[in-house]
Symmetry: C2
Subunit: 136 residues, 2 copies
Amino acid sequence: MSYPTGTVPGMTSNSYHATVERLWAAAEARDWAAYADCFAEDFVCEMPQTRERVFGRDRWVRFNSEYPGDWHVDVQRIVADDDGAVSWAHVHIGDHLETGISFFTFDDAGRVATLKDFWPEPYEPPAGREHLVERY
Amino acid sequence: MSYPTGTVPGMTSNSYHATVERLWAAAEARDWAAYADCFAEDFVCEMPQTRERVFGRDRWVRFNSEYPGDWHVDVQRIVADDDGAVSWAHVHIGDHLETGISFFTFDDAGRVATLKDFWPEPYEPPAGREHLVERY
């Protein structure tokens, strides 16, 4: 990643960006020790679409390590600032593509403190806007 | 927004952050001239869930100004870096809550060049992870 001349990205943002890269790489590698290391012990994940909540790093690591299917992660974008980070990831499970969007906050040690996780699914567009859009 | 001591956020990120704040405020105010001003003329929006694409600022402004319902925007989070920005917004339509997640890139003039727009919907959680989660 390169920055335009004259801009000085915050140290903190860089570290958040690196942590999100590292946790996705660890998940893809099934390196659950490295994955756990990215999260605070009292980490909390919320999934607003299902209204599920996972308390604690240990449960979260199990949630992911037990997740069924031969899934593979392809990170599309990470955006980080001084308050946190977001990732947009493609997760391939065979021919099926899932999209995961994750909003992270961090503790003072730079470990993930909270995650809001979204998994948007395909749907049919509502009628009435065909004059403004094309399908791809 | 305040920054921790010792971090220097990039000028560019701040400007992207401000533009995303401005475009949501303009949408909420139905100030379509101010809204249009945030977008490049050859702006493109893609909605991966419906595989819809909107070409051009004019169509995008119409898409939004014609959007049905008495919707109101409550921005939850904006994250910006030197490459772009993301917003997470609640859109209230009466008692109904929609969640919009938007990944933005910008042109050299700082106007929005591209948008990938996601609208995750509620769904029932899959069985088999009840031992790790609670519902809220």
